[in-house]
């Protein structure tokens, strides 16, 4: 049985189920309680779980993220939201120096079961400080796990997996996916962390991607089909730990790869994957791996300019043809 709901409702369901299942789970962030979140993800939570477990914070990202770390060390399971992933710079120390490191630095004495939800991505005309895709930053720091769902089913399944995971998990949620209505299973389920999914099978080229760009890659694959090109779309879903077996299997089948993300191209996670494929799967490749990413610029405000700054289906299709020399 399945039902059709929006991505934001799917996340809401995941949070609700986990909070009902485990009273160690609590929610903290700006405008999460009385307002119920700017995307209505936690409306009604305050009434059901009370002010101890659904907490409106002041605008103090370092403070409340650090408090999440401390609470997690005591066995609580904080689910914290930063209103935009761009604000991670305000909370860099608690996330990158504390949450990511304290298990290792203490010789494994503690786990930090913290979930940090980060609404990300461009396309909402919010300019340079509210539109970034900062997954590479999170992937850089050992100690963090990083997931980037592309649809309602995974958004719910991964938030549930993240809450149950003993390690800090950063969940990148694309803001322009929130309103997408999609089928999800009626019954309870988990989407395991660390498992990619082939969204479309193909034999000519692998498009590795995640988050909102999965949809664009699917559109590109459809248009390429009409031109006789059979593209495989691999939705990574998790960036750390990455599903290398899935990448290897797909690349070994198609022998051509592009990697698509909304990130700034320089220093992107797409670049990291490209390097790993070049290092370890060189003999499988018929052509150099291409990264299809944003530009090396600040995300612009004007719609005309912003649309230049992330890959569209046409951009992806063009890259596929370049790599295949068609």
């Amino acid at each position: 049985m399945s039902k059709k709901i929006t991505v934001s409702k799917a996340i809401r369901e995941g949070l609700l189920e986990e909070m009902r299942r485990d009273d160690k789970v609590f929610i903290m962030g700006e405008d999460m309680a009385v307002m119920g979140n700017v995307f209505a993800i936690t409306t009604g939570f305050l009434e059901e779980f009370g002010p101890n477990r659904v907490i409106d914070t002041p605008i103090s990202e370092e403070g409340f993220c650090g408090m999440g770390v401390g609470a997690a060390m005591r066995g609580m399971k904080p689910v914290i939201e930063l209103m935009y992933n761009d604000f991670i710079t305000e909370a860099a120390d608690p996330i990158f120096n504390q949450a990511a490191k304290l298990k290792y630095m203490s010789g494994g004495q503690c786990s930090i079961p913290l979930v940090l939800r980060l609404p990300m991505g461009s396309g909402r005309r919010n300019a340079g400080q509210h539109s970034q895709s900062l997954e590479a930053l999170a992937c850089h720091f050992p100690g963090l796990k990083v997931v980037c769902p592309s649809n309602a089913e995974d958004a719910k399944g991964l938030i549930k997996a993240a809450i149950r995971d003993p390690d800090p998990v950063i969940v990148f949620e694309h803001k322009l996916l929130y309103a997408h209505k999609e089928e999800i299973p009626e019954e309870e389920y988990i989407t395991p962390i660390g498992e990619a999914k082939v969204r479309r099978e193909g034999k000519d080229i692998t498009i590795i991607t995640w988050s909102r760009e999965v949809n664009f890659a699917m559109d590109a694959a459809k248009s390429l089909e009409a031109e006789g090109i059979d593209a495989e779309v691999l939705d990574l879903r998790t960036l750390v730990p990455v599903d290398w077996d899935a990448i290897k299997a797909s690349v070994s089948k198609t022998h051509n790869v592009i990697i698509v993300s909304e990130e700034v191209k320089r220093g992107s996670y797409a670049g990291e994957l490209s390097a790993q494929i070049a290092e370890e799967l060189f003999d499988e490749l018929d052509a150099p791996v291409e990264r299809v990413c944003g530009l090396n610029i600040v995300s612009p405000f004007s719609p005309v300019l912003e649309d230049e700054n992330f890959p569209h289906p046409e951009t992806i299709a063009a890259a596929v043809k370049r790599v295949l020399n068609k």
Binding site: F26, N52, R53, T57, P58, S60, E62, G63, F64, C65, G66, M67, G68, V69, G70, A71, A72, M73, R74, G75, M76, P78, D93, P94, N97, Q98, L102, K103, Y104, M105, S106, G107, G108, Q109, C110, S111, P142, G143, K145, D165, P166, D167, I193, G194, V240, P241, V242, W244, Q276
Partner: protein, 336 residues
């Protein structure tokens, strides 16, 4: 003056000797560590608590077993005062596998979550304040009666983390005590060159939080301020800030000659040496000089043993380098 003397009379000889012993053990640990460092037996840097012993002994005697705490880069004294094992602490300084953190943290990051409820010393100034407040939040949510004590230095009160966490802890009445050891120096910078309030704890008033400022060389003054603070936090009245004015005998790190300090600083420090002061209280309460000497000799022997244990302990095996990064799926997470 008479009132103060009467207050001190409340303390038995045994209690006073207890404070004295903790202070002497902290200093002995630090002097042993310094000697090992000078001999090249330790890697990295160490930051010593010499001069801060009365503050630490007085404060920790007010902390109950169920309570939690965080510490700083200058945190060896907190471990000794909390009843930690000097062998395991010394082995951590040596980077040995037998250390508190299996040699993965070192001097600045000793933690002992299971026995001491020590949520960790921290290399980032101010980071422990938010972690402590988070621990206090956990206590509030779970409804236990633990208080979390954040141990901090003067420098961290100029970090945003101090203000952000104090504001939230105050607003939500979290069971937390801020324990500031103000030794007046952030590395080389004298606190009043960069801070506009004569005392640091007075900033608590901005958040409607109660506070006390005490002489950190006076073990009784610190202890009583902390007893009051702990009772306040435990009874649901919210956080409390205690500032103890202390001296840092060494430079910032072991080997720093501290040429940036006026000579009066150390003259005042030595004139107020906290171990001598607590020793005098013990003698006044009926202890003998022989008893004090025996405590010092025992501390020396104990720390000799700790050094021996650390020195003879094995280093971690290089194959352990990627262990303990993640609690689940560690191998795959560190592989790429």
């Amino acid at each position: 003056m008479a009132k103060r003397e009467a207050k001190k009379a409340k303390y038995s000889k045994e209690q006073l000797l207890g404070f004295y012993t903790t202070q002497v053990r902290i200093r002995a640990f630090e002097e042993h560590a310094a000697e090992c460092f000078t001999k090249g037996m330790l890697a990295g840097n160490i930051h010593l608590s010499i001069g801060q012993e009365a503050a630490e002994a007085g404060a920790f005697a007010a902390i109950q077993p169920q309570d939690y705490f965080t510490s700083t880069h200058r945190g060896h004294g907190h471990v000794i005062a909390r009843g930690g094992d000097p062998k395991l602490a010394m082995a951590e300084l040596f980077g040995k596998r037998t250390g508190y953190c299996k040699g993965k943290g070192g001097s600045m990051h000793i933690a002992d979550m299971a026995k001491m409820n020590h949520l960790g010393a921290n290399g980032i100034v101010g980071a422990g304040q938010c972690i402590s407040a988070g621990s206090a939040l956990a206590s509030k949510i779970m409804g236990d009666d633990a208080v979390t004590v954040g141990c901090f230095g003067d420098g961290s009160t100029n970090e945003g983390s101090f203000h952000e966490s104090l504001n939230m802890a105050a607003t939500w009445k979290l069971p937390m005590v801020w324990f500031i050891e103000n030794n007046c120096y952030g590395v080389s910078t004298e606190i009043h060159r960069v801070t506009n309030t004569p005392d640091l704890a007075t900033r608590a008033a901005a958040y409607n939080v109660e506070y006390a400022v005490v002489d950190g060389t006076d073990v009784i003054a610190v202890h009583e301020a902390m007893l009051k603070a702990m009772e306040h936090a435990r009874s649901g009245k919210g956080p409390y800030v205690v500032e103890a004015k202390v001296y840092r005998y060494q430079g910032h790190y072991c080997g720093d000659p501290a040429v940036y300090r006026p000579k009066e600083y150390m003259e005042n420090a030595l004139a107020n040496d906290s171990i001598e002061k607590t020793g005098k209280l013990c003698l006044a309460a009926g202890a003998t000089q022989d008893e004090l000497d025996a405590i010092k000799a025992a501390a020396q022997a104990e720390m000799d043993e700790a050094v021996k244990f650390a020195d003879e302990s094995p280093y971690p095996d290089p194959s352990e380098v990627t262990d303990d990064m993640y609690s689940a799926d560690n191998e795959r997470c560190v592989a790429r």
